[in-house]
């Protein structure tokens, strides 16, 4: 199809060509080819751009628009300005969900950056054969879906017959056994463990790949100078991985801000909103899981917008950090 287009439009293109950089000799044949190139360039983009516009671009604008209404899914929507945002500010559940979201994002980011980084250094330190096996095993949780890992860990955390409580009883620490997911003070740490379990392998591999890129002569020089392994870690490995670290931090932040599946599967936001984050709360508001209440699409969209902004900030953070590190 590109060829057909190029024949039809080739005459128009000669006007454009001289404005482009002059590293090619001007000639009618090149002009025709360049026109074909331009048309092919756009034609090849059509499917991606059109579908993107319909199913990504427009919905973003739609969500922003909805957040300024009080639409409930039926009848006409009425414009209510910033009422949704004001309401969010005064809604104790929303405030709590905001705190939980931020807390969850920050703590997963710290755990899922520091532990994989240390693990990657250790994996790089041992014998190659072992390192391959370890990497293979640690990566397995990353390919399991959040539904499967959520259900699986829910069984492990089960208050009566769960493996965790049984194990605690067996080793004589029975007093620590408790309903992990229905106790408001243990529910978030319990979910954090599952999140770390899933993210550990991938983040470790990213760091591991990064370590392979650190100039090995730096370590040789450090050894000659008598630097310890720990000093090498802090003065060579960490500075050498700063771009990678920025990326991992930003990825973890974004995944933390947009967390949904794992909490939805394990607790549904409970007990009494203790583990509700923006994602689960807006889903309940819009698609009402329990009470059969009216879908509050306008109000829920305000949460969508906040999640978008948070993820946008994480991207910005990454871009600035990467740019600074590159300098």
């Amino acid at each position: 199809m590109a060829t057909k287009n190029s024949l039809a439009k080739s005459s128009r293109v000669d006007r454009v060509r001289p404005a482009r950089r002059g590293r090619r000799r001007a000639g009618s044949s090149w002009g025709r080819l360049y026109g074909a190139e331009r048309i092919a360039g756009y034609t090849f983009l059509v499917p991606t751009v059109v579908f993107f516009a319909i199913f990504v671009g427009w919905p973003i604008l739609y969500a922003i628009g909805l957040s300024f209404t009080n639409w409930n899914g039926f009848g006409p929507a009425s414009f209510t300005g910033s009422a949704s945002y004001v309401r969010m500010f005064n809604d104790p559940v929303a405030r709590r969900a905001f705190v939980v979201t931020i807390l969850f994002a920050l703590s997963t980011t710290v755990l899922q950056t520091v532990i994989p980084l240390v693990a990657a250094v250790l994996v790089n330190f041992v014998w190659k054969a072992l390192s391959v096996v370890v990497r293979t095993i640690l990566f397995i949780p990353a390919i399991v879906s959040f539904v499967v890992s959520g259900v699986l860990w829910k069984l492990i955390y089960d208050p009566n017959i769960g493996t965790l409580n049984q194990a605690l009883h067996t080793i004589g620490l029975g007093q620590f056994a408790q309903p992990w997911l229905s106790n408001p003070s243990t529910v978030l740490p319990s979910i954090l463990v599952v999140s770390l379990w899933g993210a550990f392998g991938l983040n470790m591999l990213i760091f591991f790949a990064g370590i392979q890129g650190v100039d090995p002569t730096l370590y040789e020089v450090a050894q000659v100078d008598g630097a310890s392994r720990v000093q090498q870690f802090f003065y060579i490995t960490i500075p050498g991985l700063r771009i990678i670290t920025a990326i991992v931090i930003a990825l973890n932040l974004m995944n933390g801000f947009k967390v949904f599946d794992i909490i939805f599967v394990m607790t549904g936001g409970g007990p009494s909103h203790a583990s509700d984050v923006f994602g689960t709360y807006l889903y309940t508001l819009a698609f009402g899981s329990t009470s059969g209440s009216i879908p509050q699409l306008g109000y829920a969209s305000a949460f969508s917008v906040v999640v978008m902004v948070l993820c946008g900030l994480a991207v910005l953070f990454q871009v600035t950090l990467a740019r600074r590190a590159n300098r």
Partner: protein, 295 residues
């Protein structure tokens, strides 16, 4: 960790055979190896437990020892029929296959266009497509739900696939572009001088060379689509059309106490993923780490 290294030998850090000869190294390495093996055991334990539980007899779940005395595969046929596993498995395979193919067509075309063709506003379009790369699914689920409803695509696999393809294409395009940029420009120019049309160049010259890049995109997309839950659970309401993930989720409520059956269902659902992982491990890891690092 290993203590200080006083030997002023210059052994590259990642050269184990030579390092083994050094006096203090084996101990340090053994210690680190021990820690790593412990971490691996902890990591793999939940999955081993999952499989072991699925092999238990139902009445030994609550008080039996950790290792089941008797192994029974009873739970598997039960889980298969009770959940209509075959149907949902087929749905997952179908949805995943179409999505992967769609994403592949979109992303190779667009990625090639961005990597090798010159046209006005190229960078602007590229930045716009990539700017929403990290848009969370939860932020878009409400407008997408309403939009599909309006288009009459709600509750249809076609609608779900459309969402998957359009949402994933930009990222796959980004990977393909990075791959195409590693191919020399001369390939394209030589083909042009030979009089090949633009599509012919893409189809006959470039695409056959793009296999490694395509493998990465296929694996990444396969995994993402197979494991996707939020859209599938929201867009599809007709039970017969559901892929595996929402079905597994609803299992949890229905068979809360029948753990062998529950775990048998979960195990069956991850078998294809594990098989593909074992089979194409290298591309798998490359796909996921590349995906994470490149953006």
């Amino acid at each position: 960790m290993s203590g200080t290294l006083t030997t002023p030998q210059t052994t590259p850090r990642a050269a184990p055979p030579g390092a083994r000869r050094r006096r203090r190294m084996p101990l340090g390495k053994s210690f680190v190896a021990f820690i790593l093996v412990a971490i691996c055991a902890l990591t793999i334990f939940p999955l081993v437990w999952l499989i072991l539980t699925s092999l238990r007899e139902q009445n030994t779940i609550f008080n039996g020892p950790v290792l089941p005395k008797q192994i029974t595969f009873q739970a598997y046929p039960r889980a298969w029929t009770a959940t209509n596993f075959g149907l949902h498995f087929a749905n997952s395979v179908w949805i995943t296959t179409v999505t992967v193919l769609g994403v592949l067509v979109f992303s190779t075309l667009a990625g090639y266009s961005f990597a090798k063709l010159r046209f006005p506003f190229k960078n602007l379009i590229y930045v716009i497509l990539l700017s929403t790369l990290m848009m969370p699914a939860t932020a878009l689920i409400i407008p997408l739900y309403l939009e599909l409803k309006k288009l009459g695509l709600l509750n249809s696999q076609a609608g779900l696939i459309l969402l998957y393809v359009s949402g994933s294409a930009p990222f796959a395009m980004f990977l393909m572009r990075a791959f195409f940029e590693t191919l020399p420009d001369e390939l394209v120019q030589a083909a042009r001088i030979d009089g090949a049309g633009e599509f012919t160049i893409f189809w006959r010259v470039i695409l056959p060379l793009a296999r490694p890049g395509i493998a990465v995109v296929v694996i990444f997309q396969f995994l993402a689509t197979w494991n996707e839950f939020l859209y599938a659970n929201t867009i599809l309401q007709n039970t017969g059309a559901l892929p595996l993930q929402p079905v597994l989720y609803s299992l949890m409520g229905q068979y809360q106490t029948d753990w062998p059956m529950l775990t048998a269902g979960l195990t069956m659902s991850i078998v294809p993923v594990i098989l593909v992982y074992v089979w194409m491990q290298r591309q798998f890891v490359a796909g996921l780490t590349l995906g994470a690092v490149k953006n």
